[in-house]
């Protein structure tokens, strides 16, 4: 219905992922005692960012297809 849902989903996860990644980089390692020493923010942030970008890419592919179809 007009808005391709992959755009807001992709954008939100990309932003959240990037945010977590940066925070993970900059934060004090002692924070991660809770998560068994693992810097969850960094790792999960990377995963979420990747997911967001894939969503955005899928949306772009779809809109490209639609434009081609419309032109024909």
């Amino acid at each position: 219905m007009g808005l391709d849902i992959r755009i807001p989903i992709g954008a939100m996860f990309a932003i959240l992922g990037a945010l977590l990644m940066v925070y993970g980089f900059l934060s004090d390692p002692s924070l991660y005692q809770r998560s068994l020493g693992m810097n969850v923010n960094l790792w999960w942030g990377i995963v979420l960012l990747a997911f967001g970008l894939i969503m955005l890419w899928l949306a772009k592919m779809a809109s490209g297809r639609n434009k081609t179809a419309a032109r024909q």
């Binding site: 219905m1 007009g2 808005l3 849902i5 807001p8 989903i9 954008a11 939100m12 996860f13 932003i15 959240l16 945010l19 977590l20 925070y23 993970g24 934060s27 924070l31 991660y32 809770r34 998560s35 068994l36 693992m38 969850v40 923010n41 999960w44 942030g45 979420l48 997911f51």
Partner: protein, 573 residues
Amino acid sequence: MHGIQLAAIDYVIMVIYFVFVLGIGFALKAYMKTSSAFLMSGRSIPAWITGLAFISTNLGALEVIGMGASGAKYGMATCHFYWVGAIPAMIFLGLFMMPFYYGSKARSVPEYLKMRFDEKTRAFNAISFAVMTIFASGISMYAMAKLMETLLGWSFETSILISAVIVLGYTYLGGLTSAIYNEVLQFFLIVAGFLPLVYLAMKDLGGWERMQGLLTKVAQKNNFGDGAWTNSWRYLTGPNANPMGVDWFGMVMGLGFVLSFGYWCTNFLVVQRAMAADSMSAARRTPLIGAFPKMFIPFLVILPGMIAMALTQQAAATGSGFALPLKGNAYDYDAAIPLMLGQYFPPGVLGLGLTALLASFMSGMAGNVTAFNTVWTYDIYQSYLRPNKSDQHYLWMGRMATIFGVVVSIAAAYLARQFNNIMDFLQLIFAFVNAPLFATFLLGMFWKRATGNGAFWGLLIGTSAAAAHHGLTIPGQETALIKGGWLGTVVHHYPSEMAQNFWTATFAWTACFVMTIVISLLTTQRKSDEDLKGLVYALTPRPKEGHLPWYSRPAFLAIVVGIMTVALNIIFW
């Protein structure tokens, strides 16, 4: 419950989520030009979106928290709610019932009842559904506000206000489409929030085998067989063999058949999402597509509860480590998920996890509000109050019903706060109404001789039978009237509430089924074959799916889902 401290980053994450949620509403506002667009998404949504929304609208925080609690309390058998309950019902809905829901062009579940039966059947369903769904919305709000209060120290009023403003915001602007889009967003958020929890908790515990070992000790402590917490079928031989207190027959009939089919196949909250799909095959595929992630959700929500119980056992043995707090004589099972989040998540993903919880509460609320405004506008307002007005008038009414729905939800939330039993009461009413309803639909869709009078009186009798059964039986040692036995004499004692629930549902369904048949045969069928075309199996042409690739055909998807679910049942039996 112990408090959780949030850092600035956690709030930033929450705010980002709120911005996107409202942003989606604003972006869709321009498309909401007709009542059909606002209330039914103009039937234009692709199957993968409706499929995810279908399961996500049901994945409210009550389910997330509740399943975690049940995982701790009952172990692996909790998975039956998914593998025996939801999945078969979803397959049935997609393959056999959607052609009638979608093909009849009914705009809602009650409207289907009007087309198939008569006005009084529709009225009964529309009114009971409208009331229950708006109360369910209020209870979502209440549960969220209470959780935020204990967990984060937010005032009750603040949580209510925030959730009301945001949900009203995006549903008023973007209607059903906005609710559906946000449900999909919420689905991914829940995965994002809970997957790391399962990973970290499992790692801390030391792996699946270690969990099994600890849960064996729990089972032994409670005088059950070794695998009572880790096997889903083996200990269902009788009510005394498992912590749920059920036998396999009661479980399969009550939960697997009646309760879950009654919910998934007739509740407009979920069916509405399938009805919003862009084609018949998309509508049929909606529950089937949803079934794939649904199968694996137990590992996201039930498993953390089981791990919490295992950790508690470990703490009891070693004297330190994570443990569930006590609430009276038993553990505070509802605390399992929130406390685990606080235990393992540093600031950052903690905000993500909490936002996922918040998101699921809100989308539960929004789902109920969008189902309510449709039933109100089309089935109550347009049918009985102001028929024959312009579509723009009904669009306006739809919007007003959205506001009204949120306001009543707030009232219901405060009511729930006053009367603690309201939640139990609502669950009860749902069970009373849903179970017989499924019998009505089954007969309506597959037996053309079922008449309007048969349906209406069958429903009424079935619902009364449920109430009567509940009034005459008691689970365990309960004395509170809300648990049963309020009709004076107690005819039977059930070993647990769940057992009582399952059997109430079975009685209700059977009573409705039998009486609908009997009364239908005794009354005249007022609808001709022509009237019933598209509404009944015998009078509807088979949906044409020849143009679809084989992997997109509903039957194929159903078979794959079926095989995978059976496999899961076998692996964890």
